[in-house]
Every structure is written in C-alpha cells, then in structure tokens.
C-alpha cells in the first residue's frame, strides 16, 4: 500500500454508500428512492438532475447511490467533448447492450452519470443539450446529471425532463466533525480553532475543506493557506474594478467574479452605479463611453441578455444566430477598463446610495406596459398599423379624445373593437395625464403621517429606511441624502407615487443654469467654476441646493462661516433647511 500522504483524502475517504454521506439528508433520501425505482419492474421515466455548489457531494452521491443498488457507472464529465456525436457514441452502446454486461458482472446494469451539464454550452458542445435531452427521453437506463447552476433558461427543457434534487452547502458544524474524525484516523492532530476556521472559510465546500485540512496536517503548518481562488462577490468585484490597480487587476477580478459574465448583469450593475461613482462629467462621459462599447461587444457576442428596461413584447431579444463566444474576451477587456479612472466617490458609500434602477423600474411599469401592449395590438389590427405606430400615433389620440369627451371616446373604442380592459386603461390614462396638472402632495421627510397598514408593511417601511417616531406619531426618513431611493421604495410599498418635499424646492431656480452653488469664503461660485468640484458631494445629494464640499468644511474659516451663528448645530452637516442657513450666512 502507498504511504497515506500520497493519497488524496477526498478520494480515500469518499463515502462508498449513501449512509456515509454527510449533510443534505433530504436530497440523499429522495435520490435513493429514485435509484430504487429503477430496480423495480415499473421504471421511472425521468432522469435525475443533482444541482448544487461545488464540493457538496453530487458526484459522490451518484456513485454511492449506484453502488447501493449494484449499478455500474458509465461516466462522462465536462472534460469530454460533448458534441451530439460524442454523446451518442457513449450512450448508444451503454443504453442498448445491457443484458450481457449484467450477467457477466453480476450488476444490475449500467447507470449513466453526466457530470457538470451546465458546462454544456458554446460552440464546441453544439447540440450537446439536445442530445442529452434525446438520450433522457429514449433511455432504458437511469441517467444522472449534475450541475452547479441551472437558472439559465437554456436548461428549462432539461429541468422539465428530470427530477431536480438540490444539494446545499454542508453545514460548518458537520464539516468540523468530519475533519476531526479524519484527523484522528490519520493521527495528525490540528488545533480545533484551525479546524473551525477551515470549516467556516470553506463556505460549505466539503471537498476544499478536506483538501485544506490534508495540506495543513501534512505540512504541519497551520498557517499555510491554499491559493484556491475564491469567487469574488459583487462588492469585492466592484472594489477590485475601481481600485485603480490597472487593467490587469481589473481583468483578473472579472476572472474570479461570481457574477455570471455570459449575461449582461455586470453591465447593468455598472450602469446603475457609474453616475454615483464618477460625479465629474468628464469622467462619467469617458466611463460610459467604455461601458457602451463593452455593451456593443456583448451585443456582438449575441448571448442571451436580460431585456433591459422594457419587458417583452416591447423589447424582445432577437435570436437570429447562435452566440459567438469567441468575441466575449474582447468585450470583457472593454468591461474591465470601465473603472480605470479614479473614482470620485467612495465605493462603499455609492453602494449604499445608488438605486438599482435597472432592476426596479421594469417591475414598477410592467403591468402598465402589458396593458399598453394589449391595447396597441388591438388598435394595430383595426387600423392596419404596426403596434409601434399605434403606440406613437393612435393611442395618444385616443387618450386625448377620452379626456375631452368620454362618451365619444367609448364610441370610437367600440368601433375599434377594444375590450373593456383597454377602455379602462384609456380612461385611467386620460385622468392621470397630463402629469403637470394638479398639485402633488408633498411629504415632509422629517415627519409625515401614513394610514395604518398592518405589521408587514410597517416592517417593509423600516427596511426602506424610514423610522417611526413614537412621540409625535410620525414617520421620519432616516437619511436625508437618500431621499430619491426612499421615495422609490415607499412608492413601491404604497403602490402610488410619492414625493418628498426637498428643502429649498419652493423656489425653483430658472431652467438652464446650474443651481448648486459653492459658498467658499462667502462667495457664490457656480459649480462649473468651482475648483473643488471633483471632491464635491453636492452632486450626489440632489436635495442640497447649496454646496457642502469637504474641502470647504475642512477649511476652518469656511466652516466657521458655514456654521455661522448656529454653533449649537455644529457637527456633520445635514440637509435640513438649507434655505434658512444660506440666509443666515448671508446676513453674517
């Protein structure tokens, strides 16, 4: 026998039967039931798809389950080229010539394991998924598939054809127990604290935890860390991209990120954040230019894309061709260089204040757009137009007619054979438009009342950044610099538009001039001439109509001026009642 050091513990101690499996008890039970069915007369029609993160035991479960019921495993994994042809070559003999094998080996027959099916995509595997699907349909043998992630719509058909069993991260406590057991079996002790840290850092990846434990135990160096790349989460990815370490570092971050790069998720995320990261117009324009090019790059790749703002049918993805994955690296290089300029704002702060507009707005307007689409479809058919033209020309006309004369509007609607829901939509539109008419109720962010809405909504309000003042019985917005975000969230909760009174909004500045002005040394300096513009947070906080540059405040003279007579209010400047303060300062 070989010295124990040379055998990987993950292989040496791989569970041979399902009873030895650790964690995921439910999935194991369901899986066993599925395999058992294959030994009975009445065979299940579906294959089994095991889904879960790496290292939780998907392959182990498949093998152990096969062993439990005396199946022989025929395996294909991601390293095989899975074109339709290759798959058929392996599957055909395995699926058809079973009986002889069964007698010769004493096993019940073959069980097919297709590892990492979510790796089946792109050019090399053309037809791979289709071949797998076909094989599942015709197969007289049990087929097990494993995958890390099947959220993509490509896998919808596959999921339908399979029993999907999900395996989760193994609990750290279990990992600790197991590793302690292994260590004592190998008589190579490690301090418990180290084992615990190992378990915590493995993020439920049992395999990596065992590998790390083996490495530490054998080298007798508890501080030795493996250099396994951990996937960077969203925050870390962005931090790396904007850290100003150059294109190489940024590109590396993209290699290690957990954000799926074959879709345009990261593009949209950057799109949300950029205006907050780069407050100077020049940098913003440059960064957006690069982002736009990266976006075009993604367009050329032609992979499946999130639909952006508009739901279908206004924005259906065009699928005239298969994705060109070879073009992706070029697009990624562009994407990596979006954050190369030095950020104007601290990223942590940006992540807090920037609304994820590209995700929220579609939801808010979704229903409306569907209604609009239905109406346009009807109108288009009646008037021999495309929906687009109907939307542009006829629908506004109809709304206008409804606004002037409801009866006439209904007559025309009947003539167009509109349905009742279309008419309802038109009526409601004609009442809400034009938006400028009618004064909107303004809520005071420092204290406003809301009707009683129950506990659930109350909790939602708290989460949206609103707190409740028990003494006054009013709601208060916690952070005044994120009024826009709170407005957005509150509107979602109340399902009606909400507007907060912005301090100083009662005297709107004339259109065309930049309203925010610096008060450096008591002078009014328009923003575009201010030398502190780069460091200025004023752009970030639209509710502030006057300047609060850090530079201004840091300068003691200016700070004195800023605080003015209200020395009692010294401290971090708040956005409350700036108009008054400006007035006070002017007197001063």
């Amino acid at each position: 026998m070989q010295p124990a050091q040379n055998v990987a513990w993950t292989e040496k101690y791989r569970p041979k039967t399902t009873t030895m499996m650790l964690g995921n008890e439910e999935a194991v039970k369901a899986f066993k039931a599925w395999v058992k069915q294959w030994t009975l007369k009445k065979k299940p029609t579906k294959a089994c798809l095991l889904v879960g993160p790496p290292g939780v035991g998907k392959t182990t479960l498949a093998r152990a389950g096969a062993k439990d019921y005396d199946f022989r495993i025929v395996e294909m994994n991601a390293s095989d080229v899975r074109t339709e042809k290759a798959i058929k070559e392996v599957l055909t003999p395995a699926t058809t010539s079973t009986s002889l094998d069964a007698f010769s080996t004493g096993s019940r027959g073959n069980l097919i394991l297709l590892d990492e099916v979510d790796g089946v995509f792109g050019r090399e595997d053309r037809g791979g998924l289709g071949a797998i699907l076909a094989a599942i349909k015709d197969s007289p043998l049990p087929i097990i598939l494993t995958a890390n992630n099947v959220d993509d719509e490509r896998f919808d058909d596959l999921k339908k054809a399979c029993i999907v069993l999900t395996l989760y991260e193994v609990r750290p406590r279990l990992i600790v127990c197991l590793i302690k057991e292994l260590l004592s079996a190998e008589s190579k002790p490690l301090p418990l604290t180290v084992v615990k840290r190992l378990a915590a850092e493995s993020h439920g990846d049992l395999r990596s935890a065992i590998n790390d434990a083996q490495m530490m135990a054998i080298s007798k160096n508890a501080t030795l860390r493996s250099n396994r790349t951990r996937e960077l989460d969203e925050r870390d990815t962005l931090r790396e991209m904007f850290a100003g370490k150059g294109l190489g570092a940024s590109r590396r971050a993209l290699n290690e990120t957990e954000i799926p790069l074959y879709r345009d998720e990261l593009l949209l995320l950057l799109h949300d954040l950029l205006p907050y990261v780069y407050t100077s117009k020049e940098k913003l324009a440059n960064a957006y230019d690069v982002l736009s090019r990266a976006d075009i790059g993604y367009g050329k790749v032609g992979a499946s894309r999130s639909r952006g703002m508009m739901p279908p049918p206004f924005n259906l993805p065009r699928r005239d061709r298969a994705p060109e994955w070879s073009l992706l690296p070029a697009a990624l290089n562009e994407l990596a260089s979006v954050g190369l300029q030095e950020p104007d704002q601290d990223l942590k702060h940006v992540l807090e204040v920037a609304p994820r507009i590209s995700r929220k707005i579609p939801d808010r307007f979704q229903y409306r757009l569907w209604a609009l689409d239905h109406l346009c479809g009807r109108v288009a058919r009646a008037c021999h137009l495309s929906k687009r033209k109907a939307l542009q020309d006829i629908v506004p006309t109809l709304i206008e007619i409804f606004r002037i004369d409801d009866v006439k509007g209904r007559e025309i609607a009947a003539g167009l054979e509109l349905e009742e829901r279309d008419i309802e939509f038109l009526v409601s539109e004609s009442k809400t438009q034009p938006p400028q008419s009618g004064p909107q109720e303004l809520l005071d962010p420092t204290g406003f009342k809301l009707p009683y809405m129950g506990k659930d909504k109350f909790i939602q309000l708290m989460r949206a950044g609103i707190s409740y003042d028990r003494n006054s019985g009013k709601f208060v917005v916690r952070r005044l610099d994120s009024l826009d975000t709170v407005e957005e969230r509150l509107a979602g909760i109340l399902s009606r538009p909400v507007k907060f009174a912005r301090p100083g909004e009662d005297a709107p500045a004339p259109e065309g001039s930049i309203t925010q002005e610096c008060y450096v040394d008591g002078q009014q300096v328009p923003c575009d001439k201010c030398e502190f513009l780069q460091a200025c947070p004023t752009h970030l906080i639209p509710s502030l109509k006057f300047c609060l540059c850090d530079d201004t405040v840091a300068d003691p003279k200016a700070y004195e001026k800023y605080v003015g007579k209200n020395t009692s209010e010294a401290g971090p400047p708040k956005a409350a009642k700036p108009a008054k303060r400006v007035a006070a300062r002017k007197k001063h």
């Binding site: 205006p275 367009g299 757009l369 137009l385 495309s386 929906k387 109809l398 009947a414």
Partner: protein, 325 residues
C-alpha cells in the same frame, strides 16, 4: 356600430386607388401594372410615414379581390412579428389556406409593413420565402427607407416611391373630412394642423379629430385650436435633452426611464425624436452640431445589438460633457 364611432383615419381611408390624393404618378404606374391581375408583380412601396403606402396596398387588395378581401390578405408587421421564423410560419400557413380556397382565387396577398426594420439576415431568408411562396402569394413590402431593403429583394419587386404630401392637396383632403363631419374649419387652423404634423397625413387627421372633438359646436378656428401632438413624448425628449446638456445626468436619466418605462418608447425612437426636436430648443443652438453628432453616434451603436438603457445613458453622459465645454 354607429358611424360616429370610428377613428377618422379609418373612416376616411380611401377605398379605391382613384381616391388616393397626391400620388398621381405612383398610382398611375400601379394601375397600369394591375390591368392584368394575374401578372401582378411583387411591390415595394417606400416613402415617409402618413403618405398612403398602407392605404394603397389595401386598395389594391380590394380592387383585386373585392370586398371579401380580408380573408385573402395577410397583414404582417415586421416590427411586431419579430424573427423571421414567425414570418415564415405565418406565410406558410397562409399559402396553404390560399391553395385550398375556392377556385377563381389566383393568389393571396401578403402585406409586409415596416420591412426595413428587419435585419439583413431576416431579409435574406425572406427572399427565399418570397420565391417559394410566389406561386400562391404576391408580396407588397412597405418601408420608410428604400435603402433599408437589401438589393436582391428590391430587384424582385416593382419599386414605387411615395412623396411627401403637398400642402394644398392635404388641405383639400382635410376640408373634405370637415365637410362630411359638419365641422366648420378655418383655413388658417387647417394650415396650422398641417404644419404641426410634418406632412404626415395620418397624424394630421388624428389631430383634426381631437381638435374637432374639443371644439364645441363644430367651429374650428386658429384661436380655439387645441394644439395636440400625438407624441406626449416630444415634450419629455426636449426636457431630457435640456437636462442632459445642463449637466443634470440623474434627472435626465430619470426622464429617459419614464419615456421608456411608462410610454414604451424604444431607444431609437427617442433618438429619432431628439433629432427632430433639437432644432426647436433655442438654448442649445450653439451646441447643435456636436449634439447631433453624438445622437448619430449612439443611434449607430443601438443598431449594433446593444442594450438600450446603457446606450442612452452613455449618450446622456456625453451630452453632459458637451454642455460642460
């Protein structure tokens, strides 16, 4: 269905080729080709919106097939029926219906509107479809820009160009509607309507209907003319441009989202409107050239299969940069 309950654009849509105004040469050409219906070629109609392309196509259908033409005509919109697969399936099904139709029917008519919106690949596929279906179907392709149609398709069709409407003839047409609807309209008011609708007769008729509905007692004068443009959006597009150039990126982007989210306006449509509206914003006159260049650049980028949100935001960022200089 009561007679008043109709959109005027439908009610007063010409029924025969002779009623169509202002496109005399085109109509004469088409008529001569229709003299022997069985040898009717495929047609390609190109011209600005609201000049009567779809109307002429429907007139042809009516002339060839009589009042029951609806069953024998397949109207498709390239911008709605995305993907050539859908178009192919519909045409296939349609030609089967035609084959089983009672004798005497020589062919069905496929009217493909906005065909310049189709991708080049789709058009190449369409060319094949036109060939295989040509025994049972004749095609009328309609587009705004002839250059958007690939050469091989153009060569298979008789191409007719529709010209921008002549003001005098359009005005007569509107007066005729007014007379039929018993609306007394001032000539000046009609002239204003035509001016605002940019030679698009469909838009003009809609405008007229709104104005007539709002005028009490059927008197329509320049003084009480309710100015109405079908694009609620043009106002928004203007404010988006202004905000952008003044450097308020976030607000401009909000307006953009409102346009897209609330009104369902596509990105290219926003840019198209922006191009038209830019001349109407006096504050931006000095920077017009560079703004128009930016608009063009991003219109191009949008055609490259890119994401509208990102491209338009990038455009706004560029406009803000222009405003800074």
């Amino acid at each position: 269905m009561s007679e008043s309950g109709l959109m005027w654009i439908e009610k007063y849509r010409p029924k025969t080729l002779d009623e169509v105004v202002n496109q005399k040469e085109t109509i004469d050409g088409i008529k001569s080709l229709l003299r022997t219906p069985e040898t009717m070629p495929h047609f390609l109609f190109a011209g600005p919106p609201g000049t009567g392309k779809s109307t002429v196509a429907l007139c042809i259908a009516r002339q060839l097939m009589g009042e029951s033409f609806r069953k024998l005509v397949l109207e498709l919109n390239a911008s709605d029926e995305r993907g050539i697969g859908v178009v192919r399936e519909r045409i296939k099904g349609f030609s089967q219906i035609i084959q089983s139709a009672p004798s005497g029917v020589q062919f069905g008519l496929v009217i493909l509107d906005e065909s310049d919106e189709m991708t080049k690949d789709a058009q190449t596929a369409l060319r094949r479809i036109m060939e295989t279906a040509s025994r049972t179907c004749r095609f009328i392709l309609i587009c705004n820009y002839q250059s958007g149609i690939i050469e091989p398709i153009q060569s298979r069709c008789s191409v007719f160009r529709f010209k921008q409407l002549d003001e005098a003839e359009a005005s007569t047409y509107l007066s005729r509607i007014c007379k039929a609807e018993k609306v007394e309209a001032d000539q000046k008011a009609l002239a204003r309507i035509l001016e605002l609708s940019d030679g698009d007769l469909r838009r003009a008729v809609n405008f007229l209907q709104v104005a007539a509905t709002s005028s009490k007692g059927g008197h329509l004068q320049l003084s009480n003319l309710k100015e109405f443009l079908p694009e609620a959006q043009s106002e928004l597009v203007r404010s988006m441009l202004k905000l952008a150039v003044n450097g308020d990126f976030l607000k401009a982007r909000d307006v953009m989202y409102e346009l897209m989210g609330k009104y369902g306006v596509s990105g290219r449509e926003i840019i198209r409107t922006a191009n038209r509206e830019i001349g109407r914003i006096p504050e931006l006159n000095e920077r017009q050239a560079s703004i128009v260049r930016t608009l063009g650049e991003y219109d191009f980028r949008l055609t490259q299969g890119a994401n509208e949100d990102i491209q338009l935001s990038a455009m706004i960022a560029q406009l803000a940069e222009i405003g800074r200089k």
